[in-house]
Subunit: 230 residues, 2 copies
């Protein structure tokens, strides 16, 4: 069978790393074949295409595999020029890369830690998440999207804020996204989630609640066992 224009994407329904790639392909209007992976029982295909990490997403284009969601976004933006994700000027690109890295490595990691921890560690992670969100609020302020008038690179990477963070908050009974404290982010969430191409790829909330509750319990259980062995 011939490869479709945008190749094959190996993914997992709830992975924010996969969803940002799906969004990018949608925004570019690039057709692709989607293959759902069971990340708890990885296929030989996934392990062959991403032998280093064995993780989704993997985009296979022109027969060649590309891994790491942010690397894939850069690739997509270079190969399909329509609806650019990154600005063209070097400083604009540097700014976008800086904030994408910040969203992925600071906010996303702290929020995940806040979901999957207890006690002091949890408190610290909630505090760090709020501080990271303060930085993003300041960066966004006055713009519709991080990229300006249109959804761009940073919006796609930070997109988890709009649909996963509220799920984490509900499960762990914590408040990070206080709308009175984060008016720009709150407005951005509304515009972003309701964009027709973004909305199409949002996983159902009830399924996310069930999935992340289970993951959290598993992680907390392993941690309890580890610390009780000490």
């Amino acid at each position: 069978m011939e490869e479709s224009q945008g190749g094959k994407l190996l993914g997992f329904w709830v992975s924010p790393y996969v969803i940002r790639v799906k969004w990018a392909l949608k925004l570019k209007g690039v057709e692709h074949e989607y293959i759902e992976e069971d990340v708890f029982n990885k296929s030989p295909l996934l392990l062959k295409l991403n032998p280093v990490h064995g993780q989704v997403p993997v985009l296979v284009h022109d027969g060649k595999p590309i891994s790491e969601s942010i690397v894939i976004l850069e690739y997509i933006d270079q190969v399909w020029k329509q609806n650019p994700l990154l600005p063209q000027d070097p400083f604009g690109r540097a700014k976008a890369r800086f904030w994408a890295k910040f969203a992925a490595e600071k906010l996303q990691e702290y929020a995940w830690k806040a979901l999957c921890s207890r006690g002091e560690e949890h408190e610290r992670a909630v505090k760090s998440s709020i501080e990271a969100l303060e930085n993003m609020e300041e960066e966004l302020n006055g713009k519709k999207y991080f990229g300006g008038d249109k959804i761009g690179f940073v919006d796609l990477v930070a997109g988890f804020i709009s649909y996963q963070l509220p799920v984490y908050e509900e499960i762990a009974c914590m408040k990070i996204l206080d709308s009175s404290k984060f008016p720009a982010i709150t407005k951005w969430i509304d515009s972003f989630r309701n964009h027709p191409l973004i909305e199409q790829e949002l996983p159902p909330k009830d399924k996310m609640l069930a999935y992340f509750s289970k993951r959290r319990n598993e992680i907390l259980l392993v941690e309890n066992q580890t610390s009780s062995r000490k």
Copy 2:
């Protein structure tokens, strides 16, 4: 005073993040003004130019600050086209970005953890460092540099392997870089370190030994105090 062609670089003598930027500017033949920061007593200038992280390196070019070493390398490569760091084709760029991320986020973090930990945690970090190096050995095999015949993006990011990792090994009495296990990396270290533009920016080994021994002791002391309070 007029800004020099390559702008101003705020750095710290032993930071591998700064050194990779210095190398990139050297390879491009771009003159710049270098400002040494005291990272333990940050200047108002640094905090103004990088308010989010307050970290070096910061490159100020055309009056605008750029932070995060890998973001700076991308910027340099776009602004000064001579001696390209990244390949031009999208797949080659994706591969280089993947391995740069891997070197920076896996090997570098594990090696630092191996330096600054004890007991089981140290053993695990040494094992992870060796596994990460195995991946890099396989990627490099058959090439002079990660970028091919010339030093490129991945070489600059992975460059710490050639001059900091041996220092970590000596201080923590550990062996990660076994030359019989890593013949390609061993040969690469030799070519890379002896490249005249790379060599110029290597900090003196005795100063690195003193600096990292002190840092390690400080970090281990804080961890001891934290765990004894539990």
